[in-house]
Point group: C2
């Protein structure tokens, strides 16, 4: 079972296609700040649709956006996240959202673990000598691992 | 020149296809609260893609989302707005955002005009005996009229 992990962002969306112990694909979708927002959102949706078509994941796991004080940034991330969700729904796959602290807990055992520690744990969990690069792609692996862990917990109940 | 006016919302998105003095189409896209958000966003995009394909508007005018205290509602509207933007970008048409006060100013001559007054003015401007229904569709007409007025102002400069 492949999980498509998504770390959404308007400028950079990290993605990772992961199953237990294996990363099938990972990378980032970058969009240009010079393009209009609608064009950038359409690119994110289209690129993820291609990825879903290629790897046929059974679920999309995506980082939940917290709208806090920086509303401008939050708006961009909410929009990018929505574009990713549309790609999933168009392909008929479910979307599960995980909060940043749930992802950190799952991967590093502590909801407030620093970013570097999460990335080291991602490398360790996947048997890699160093953390996947760029960081947004590593974050996407962490989100996918969080979902796989939740699945394991549920299956043991 | 047709303008596609959009009053975005996750539950109800109002739309209107308008040119000077004529409404070619208007209505609302409703999505079910029982469906997952990704499915609802995908529906909004798909329905608007169909509408764009049918009427071939040259521009999408959409109400700008203001993120204020009700962050939950704002998140839903931002997502719905993003879904509409993707439909426009996929069809290669530009998107122009107008603030609620710009729309009120354009249609009712006053940025803080009450909703009822805006809707009466929409009816008067379009030569209708009563305001278009439902209200989200009337709001979409107002947004389209705002864009048409801006175009006229620009052409006179």
């Amino acid at each position: 079972m492949f999980v498509l992990g998504i770390d959404p962002g308007l400028t950079t969306t990290g993605y990772a296609v992961v199953r237990n112990g294996e990363i099938a694909a990972l990378g980032v979708i970058r969009t240009s700040k010079e393009d209009p927002v609608p064009v950038r959102l359409a690119e994110i949706r289209k690129d993820l649709a291609g990825l879903i078509n290629e790897f046929n994941p059974s679920v999309m796991a995506i980082e939940q956006v917290f709208v806090n004080r920086n509303l401008q940034t939050a708006t961009s991330v909410v929009r990018a996240s929505g574009a990713a969700m549309i790609a999933a729904a168009d392909a008929g796959i479910p979307v599960v959202e995980y909060s940043p602290s749930a992802v950190k807990s799952a991967v590093a055992g502590y909801g407030r673990a620093p970013k570097e520690q999460v990335q080291k744990m991602v490398a360790a969990r996947m048997g890699l000598s160093e953390s996947p690069s760029p960081p947004d792609a590593a974050d996407a692996v962490a989100i996918a691992l969080c979902h796989l862990q939740q699945q394991t917990i549920r299956s043991l109940r």
